[in-house]
Amino acid sequence: MSNNDLKVRVWRGSQEGEFVEYLVPRNPNQTVLDVVTYIQRKLDPTLSYRFACRVGMCGSCAMTVNGVARWTCRTHVSKILQGNSLEIAPLNNLPVIKDLATDMREFFNKWKGAVGFFKGDKTRYDDFTKVQPNSEERQLADAGIECIGCGVCYASCEVVESRPNYLGPAALNRAWTLTNDVRDVQQLERMTAVAGDAGCHACHSQGSCTEACPKAIAPTASIAGLKKLVARAAVRGSKWGKL
C-alpha cells in the first residue's frame, strides 16, 4: 500500500449486505468506473457491477458514489474525492440484485405504465408527417428527448422513496416528450396514466432529478408541464378530449 492509495468502500451483498474496504492505487484521470473495474480485475473477481460503453452513451454504469447517484464512467475520482476515500453503492430506490447491480425492471415497467412509448396511425403508404423544428411542441419534446434511461433521476427522487408506486421522473419525462409528439395517437390514455398521485401530481418540484441528471435534462420542468396539461384536461378538457 502506498500513501497515495484510495480507500474505497464498496457495497457487497444484495438488499442485506455491508460495505467492504479495498485499497486502489491512484491514477491520473481515473474515473470511478476505473476504480470498480480495478477492484474486480485485481482484487476480487466476485464483485458484480454493470457497464457497457464507458463513454456516457449507454446509461448502464450509474451507481451511488459518495451518496450521490452518478454515471461512474463520466465521474473523475479527483472531482468528488473526500480525503482519500470513496464510497460506492448501488442506485437507491431499486432492489439490489448483487453488489452494485440493481434490478431495473420496475424502473422500465413504469415507462410502460406512463404510456411512454410511441404509437402512430400512419402506414408506409402515407406521406411523412412534417414537424417544424421550431414548432412549440417540437421544442418542448427536444428539451427532454435525450434521456438514455440510466436511472440516476429515479434513484435521486425523494418522492419515489416515499411513494413506491410513483412513476418517477424518467417515465414522466418520456411521457411529456410523447405528449408533445404530434404524430402520437394515445394522448388521452397517456394523460389518464400519468394523472394523480401515482403520476405527475405527486412531484414535490424539489428538483433533485434535474440536479442529478447527467444529460442536463430537467424532468422537473417536464413534470410541471404534465401537471398543468393533465389537470386542465381533467377540469376543462384538452384538444384531445376530456379525461
Binding site: 389518464t192 394523480g196 398521485d197 401530481h201
Partner: protein, 116 residues
Amino acid sequence: MSEGVLQAKLWYAQRISAMVLGLCVAIHLGIIFYAIRGGLTAQEILGRTQGNMLFAIFYEIFVIACFVHAPIGMANILQETFPKSGLAKPIAWLLALLILILGTTSVIGVFTGGAI
C-alpha cells in the same frame, strides 16, 4: 372517474385556491397594518367591520379558499407520511369542515358584532 383524474382535479382546485389565497393574504396583511395604526381594541375593529358587507364578502372568500386549499394539502401530507393508515381522507374532511364552520362563524360574528 379514476382516482388519478380525481387527484388531478384536486390539484387544480388547490392551484386556483392558492392564487386566491395569495391575493387574500396580501390584502389581509395590508388591512392589519392599516388597522393597528391607532392601537388595537375590539371596539375599534367591530366599529369598522360591523355591517360592512364588503368586508364580510372578502373574508368569506378567504375562508372558502382556505376550505379548499388546506385540506387537500393536509391529505397529501398524511397520505405520503402514513400511506397505509387511511387517515388522509377523514382528517382532511374534518379539517375542511372545521375551517368552513369556524371561519364562517367568525365572519358572521364580526359582521353582526355578535348579535346572532
